[in-house]
Symmetry: C2
Subunit: 261 residues, 2 copies
Amino acid sequence: MTGRDGGADLHPIGNSPVVILVRPQLADNVGAVARAMANGGLFHLRLVAPRDGWPQERAWRMASGADRILDALTVHATVNDAVADLHHVFATCPRPRHIIKPVLTARGAAAEARAICARPLRCGFLFGPERAGLDNDDMACADMLVRYPLNPAFMSLNLAQAVMVMAYEWWTATDETPVRALMTNETKVATKGDLDNFLAHLVAELDESGFLRNLPKRPGMVRNIRHFFQRGEVTEQELRTLHGMVTELALGRRQRGRPEG
Amino acid sequence: MTGRDGGADLHPIGNSPVVILVRPQLADNVGAVARAMANGGLFHLRLVAPRDGWPQERAWRMASGADRILDALTVHATVNDAVADLHHVFATCPRPRHIIKPVLTARGAAAEARAICARPLRCGFLFGPERAGLDNDDMACADMLVRYPLNPAFMSLNLAQAVMVMAYEWWTATDETPVRALMTNETKVATKGDLDNFLAHLVAELDESGFLRNLPKRPGMVRNIRHFFQRGEVTEQELRTLHGMVTELALGRRQRGRPEG
């Protein structure tokens, strides 16, 4: 029923929420949903009464390799059947009316789902059909509603995009990537000594060239140059390139300065 | 050049980042990107060397009403031309190598972009072609890289999905929706007095029916019933319904208890 074993190749984590597409219209969207789920570490997909039946070849073409999610999905006649083995159900719903239920943002729902999965209980997210969204009976099956904070002037959210946002929040809810880092990979950041060595080289050549000949202004100019090269981290490779540039530029000047042979 | 006026209908905010699709292959994706941008409050779209030329009717069909973004987009021959009037450029890049640049998460980049737009300076996000992503020359035009924290076992992210995540983070960076709220709309939450009144009605009928006839257990049973009805907020409408249910159930019992006429 749950397809819990089918997505093993894509499955870095244990218990994760089920995505339930209620009366989806387009098989393309089901495939795109599977791809978005794989991006965000969701692997259990269920369909309730897909309009055009199931399976549909187009879905696999749109899944870009997230085949195991499609291979393992289950099809259900009703929402009640699709959620029968779950302990907690979220309903995504852009404009809930006359309903008394907790409403979470996508981020809040992701945190809640993480907590539920950790207990460990099983939870799922209902997503409505492309045009109409979930109806009132669908929402009566849910414990909580999820409403994304998005531009109220343009609420038409593609089904796979809706799943993408939820899957992204599910993933980032436990992600510990620093908000900002410096990418260096195999490149090493130069030390201040290396940088100083380059600046000495540069200033010597600038002195030689006459660029710093205004002695009263020289200290300020040197300081400004130093400021410029301190603006961001510099790699060892970049310093080698800078040394080479200065050497070659100075050499060109010297050669031009010599009488032609 | 910038299409800054074209998206006015969808445009609740002032200065916002430009989305730059570098060598996009599929017009469908350009349309889906426009839709995702509108969802997240981004309105300025530029294309660099779209594979199949521009305009393409398919894009408008996929945009689901975000036409103004497509109507106003500009096409550029090179990345350099597309970013020429910007002050700061982010490059989205799933697997940067041998590059020394700050790398931000989508959330970090959104905060940075908000700060840049507030100064106010103009910034933009580069998104690479569907298959290959940005190349090294493209990335050399950028100040910072953006790498989304997503499932490393399945990095194949649809172009419109990539834009959706960034647009979503752009929007939520200043959104103040509480993570959790209770949806009531026109429905009013009942007071504790209203609830107590219902519980008195219920207990009276349960006493009458004999359900609470075990007197030593009665206080605990009443307390458990009270706990159950306190589990979540109850609306005035729900209390009216509950009163009616209890009255009718009790009436049915009384009528059955009477000799048939």
